[in-house]
């Protein structure tokens, strides 16, 4: 049965994607380590880390796509799961500093010494073990998503209400992590990392290895998502997205389907965060900012939700643009981002992937952009027909 699922997961597109990312995982580190600097084809180390950051964002966008694109749940709080995964990784990295901190305390991180704490808080215990920390990377975001989803979906909090609630969740976490008393470094967060798994974190080889790990994780994420959306469960998820009440009346337990998607997605987001932190070198409460979570949504929307390749493209394109704008025209970045939000919702309801299909005429089964509820369709038609202005034409 597992092989069957694997076989189904590996349709042609997924194989291509996975192949590309595995190739990238090998080629980029090789180009960095084997080709000497200055020679054609050399990838400088800073670029390796930058690309690694983009790929971890791609995992995050893919995670959001699983809940939003396939299950119709617009989460405005996925940044919280990302940041929680990042904090779990950051805690491991902090424990690895050992006595090399400014205060030289063998156990306590610098900020705890600074706050005059004597003992490690209980929730920091065990984080000196890499595998325990990795388990927490999966477990903490997963548990939060499970609890949040369990209550929210069971009481049928849907649509905009759910989006606002997820936003409130990440906002509450933002406020909480800003507090020094929480024991997560407060305002400054966790930084000054030294080692990961015994290798110095700044070293070229470590950077290359982290990049390879991120690319492989992305390939695995594509595999998992592909497996889910091509299974029967995936079909039900799409049904929930398109007509939730109808699916419920057909006898499916809608809340469990949603809970499954939400939890898996949160775990993926946590993994993305854990891969992001060592490559960027810092994690602070700013990652919980609701604005960050909304930005994730626009990566997915721009790339094309309801597809596997779309969010990955979207995350990379938007962040490339962000890197370029913030270095050359920092004033204009927010204008560009704002315009991106408006234009992609108005003119690209199916994102870049939808545009591709429209331009190159490849007829695909309908993807993305479907209204979340049947009554919404009626409302939409009503408003459009009455105003005499049709909605932007769907891609088909």
């Amino acid at each position: 049965m597992l092989t069957q699922a694997l076989f189904r997961a590996l349709d042609r597109k997924a194989i291509w994607l996975i192949g590309i990312f595995l190739a990238v995982a090998i080629l980029v580190p090789m180009a960095n380590l084997l080709i000497p600097p200055g020679q054609f084809g050399h990838v400088p180390t800073y670029l390796v880390s930058l690309l690694g950051k983009y790929l971890s964002y791609a995992i995050l966008a893919l995670a959001l796509d699983l809940v939003w694109g396939y299950c119709g749940i617009l989460s405005l709080g996925h940044g919280a799961f990302f940041a929680l995964g990042g904090y779990a990784m950051g805690m491991y990295l902090m424990r690895q500093i050992g006595s090399r901190g400014v205060y030289g305390n063998p156990v306590l991180p610098d900020f705890m010494v600074f706050l005059n704490w004597r003992d490690l808080p209980w929730y920091w215990l065990g984080f000196d073990n890499f595998w325990f920390a990795m388990a927490m990377v999966l477990f903490v975001p997963g548990l939060l998503a499970f609890l949040f989803g369990f209550f929210a979906f069971r009481s049928r909090v849907t649509g905009v209400y759910l989006s606002i609630m997820t936003q409130a969740m990440t906002f509450a976490l933002l406020l909480a992590f800003f507090r020094n008393d929480m024991g997560f470094g407060g305002n400054n967060g966790l930084t000054d990392f030294k080692d990961i798994l015994g290798g110095p974190i700044q070293a070229q080889t470590t950077r290359a290895a982290l990049f390879a790990a991120t690319a492989i994780a992305l390939a695995l994420s594509v595999l998992v998502c592909s497996g889910i959306v091509n299974s029967k469960l995936g079909k039900v998820m799409i049904a929930v997205r398109d007509a939730e009440s109808r699916t419920r009346f057909l006898g499916y337990r809608v809340e469990y389907v949603k809970l499954f998607a939400f939890t898996v997605s949160a775990i993926m987001a946590g993994i993305a965060g854990a891969l992001y932190v060592p490559q960027v070198g810092i994690i602070n409460p700013g990652e919980f900012d609701p604005a960050n979570s909304i930005e994730i949504v626009i990566w997915t929307a721009l790339g094309g939700r309801g597809t596997l390749v779309g969010p990955i493209i979207g995350a990379i394109v938007v962040n490339l643009g962000k890197s370029w704008f913030t270095t050359t025209l920092p004033e204009l970045w927010l204008f560009a981002l704002g315009a991106l939000f408006v234009c992609s919702t108005l003119f690209l309801p199916k994102g870049i992937v939808g545009l591709w299909h429209q331009v190159f005429g490849r007829r695909q089964k309908p993807i993305g952009a479907a209204p979340t509820q049947s009554s919404d369709i009626e409302k939409g038609e009503d408003a459009a027909s009455l105003s005499g202005n049709p909605q932007p034409k769907p891609a088909e």
């Binding site: 606002i164 936003q167 939000f341 408006v342 009626e378 408003a383």
Partner: protein, 537 residues
């Protein structure tokens, strides 16, 4: 000619110059120096000094004058210091501190005659407790309370008998009671009787006075003082709670202003307008610009700049709202989540525009005179700024209720909220209603911005600080019902202020967020949900 005119001018101005110098001197009189100068003064000079001292109006001169009249004021010929002698105790006539003189001290009484004694008595009474000005009498009574001296009792009794102002009378009685309680010369029954008078009349300082008295009082008095203190503590707790309620209402009215426009757009159109906070911000900047123009061109209108800014902000943000609705949102009907994203994009653009034009720094709006300061309402101290914001929120709420319930547009809005398709079948132009609703909601956000200039910094991020709170209010209160928003805003405001003392501001806010998330599980459509078929939409 010229010189003549100049001389005439100087002559004309002279009386004014002199009086102003006089007034300045009176204010800066060096009381200890004046008192010390009494030692070597002749009778005639003494009379001048007494009237100088009396003209300060400062209760601190009372002991010296009283001692002079009673014949207790002495000059030490050796050190030429002026002291008060009572029995064998020597004290400084101004500070009241005990004074130790050298072994060669040679005290001689400063002599007064009857006419001077009369002068002193009138001066004392007129200057303080018998003054025509109630404020002076109040200050004098306060002074007596702070520096209790049994010698003042007859004076106080006289003043109490003559007093007509209830507030001053209460304070005088308190001062008398404080004096009696603090001195062993009075018998226990009198001192016991003084305690409740202090508790009821001394106002906020009663607790400090009684706590101070507790340490020196004889054991017989202690139970009475303790029970009075317990009563006062309880009273203070009640007033503290009421003060918290007031702070909560004040915060709640700010939330109400920020959220009510959002509630309307969300209720009627099912659209979460993420750019709502930026409308608030634009309203605040409109106020700033209006005040700038007024200050440069019509400075006499400065006190009314907020009132002028209100319609300006309403129409500006309302017009922008209609523009957003016509330009972007109407293409996205039926896709609430996409609308959310598009309006978020608009909010980013608006924010960055304002930042580019006005810079990222905070701007200032000056509070008009009628909004600065505070007043006392029983035990509550209420600042005028907060007070007017609460009133303003109430007015906006009432006007909105009127618009929704008593106008054709309001009727159409309610119809569209309840059943969009049916409303459109009945001939209501739903696109027009949508545009007007969005404009109204945005305009009210602009009004909120005008009010917020009085309590918050005007910066491009102003809106971001309120948007999540506003969402919480709308989601908590429920959609399609203004009363829900009102109850939601006030509940959240009061709950926030009550949690703050126990949990701290940040933790309190986190708790509120968590409570709302839990609450929504119980009532997914908020406190006042629309019932019936409308829910299905």
């Amino acid at each position: 000619m010229l010189t003549l005119r100049a001389i005439r001018l100087v002559l004309l101005a002279l009386p004014f110059l002199l009086t102003s110098i006089d007034a300045a001197r009176a204010q800066e009189t060096d009381i200890p120096a004046l008192v010390q100068s009494m030692g070597e003064a002749s009778l005639r000079e003494l009379g001048q000094i007494v009237s100088d001292l009396a003209s300060t109006g400062d209760p601190a001169v009372v002991p010296a004058l009283q001692a002079l009249a009673d014949g207790n004021l002495y000059l030490d010929e050796a050190s030429s210091a002026v002291v008060i002698q009572r029995g064998s105790a020597l004290s400084d006539p101004v500070s009241g501190d005990a004074v130790a003189l050298g072994a060669d001290a040679d005290l001689s009484r400063i002599r007064v005659n009857n006419s001077l004694r009369r002068d002193i008595a009138t001066a004392l009474a007129g200057m303080t407790l018998m003054s025509d000005n109630p404020a002076t009498r109040l200050a004098a009574a306060n002074g007596f309370m702070a520096r209790p001296d049994p010698a003042n009792i007859p004076l106080l009794d006289e003043a109490i008998a003559a007093e007509t102002n209830a507030n001053v009378l209460r304070l005088m009685q308190a001062a008398r009671a404080v004096t009696i309680l603090g001195d062993d010369e009075f018998d226990l029954a009198d001192r016991q009787a003084a305690i409740p008078v202090i508790a009821s009349n001394a106002g906020r300082s009663a607790i400090t006075i009684l706590t101070g008295a507790l340490s020196t009082a004889p054991d017989d008095l202690k139970p009475a003082i303790q029970s009075a203190l317990a009563g006062l503590e309880q009273e203070r707790a009640v007033w503290g709670a009421l003060q918290n309620v007031w702070f909560g209402i004040s915060l709640g009215s700010v939330l109400l202003l920020a959220a009510i426009g959002l509630a309307i757009t969300f209720g009627v159109m099912g659209v979460i307008n993420m750019a709502h906070g930026e409308m608030v911000m634009l309203g605040a900047y409109t106020t700033f610009i209006v005040q700038l123009i007024i200050r440069q061109n019509f400075p006499f209108l400065l006190d009314y700049s907020l009132l002028i800014a209100l319609p300006a902000a309403f129409f500006l943000t309302g017009a922008i709202g209609v523009g957003i609705e016509r330009g972007v949102i109407r293409w996205l009907y039926g896709r609430p989540l996409e609308t959310l994203l598009a309006t978020w994009g608009i909010s980013l653009i608006l924010q960055q525009s304002v930042r580019s034009i006005f810079g990222p720094t905070n701007q200032m709006v000056i509070a008009p005179t009628w909004m600065s300061g505070s007043f006392e309402f029983y035990g509550l101290s209420i600042t005028y700024g907060r007070f007017w914001i609460v009133i303003f929120a109430a007015i906006v709420f009432a006007l909105l209720l009127l618009v929704l319930n008593r106008t054709a547009l309001g009727l159409q809005m309610r119809a569209v909220t309840q059943n969009r398709r049916m409303a459109s079948s009945m001939g209501i132009r739903t696109p027009f209603v949508d545009a007007m609703t969005f404009g109204l909601g945005s305009g009210i956000a602009g009004l909120a911005g005008v009010a917020l200039t009085q309590i918050d910094n005007i910066s491009p991020n102003l809106g971001q600080n309120y948007i999540i709170d506003s969402f919480m209010v709308v989601v908590f209160g429920g959609v399609g019902n203004l009363w829900g928003t009102l109850v939601g805003a006030l509940t959240l405001g009061v709950a926030n202020k009550f949690l703050e003392p126990y949990a701290g501001a940040v933790l309190g806010k986190i708790l509120i967020l968590v409570l709302i998330i839990l609450f929504i599980q119980r009532r997914p459509r908020g406190l006042f949900a629309l019932k019936g078929r409308a829910v299905e939409q």
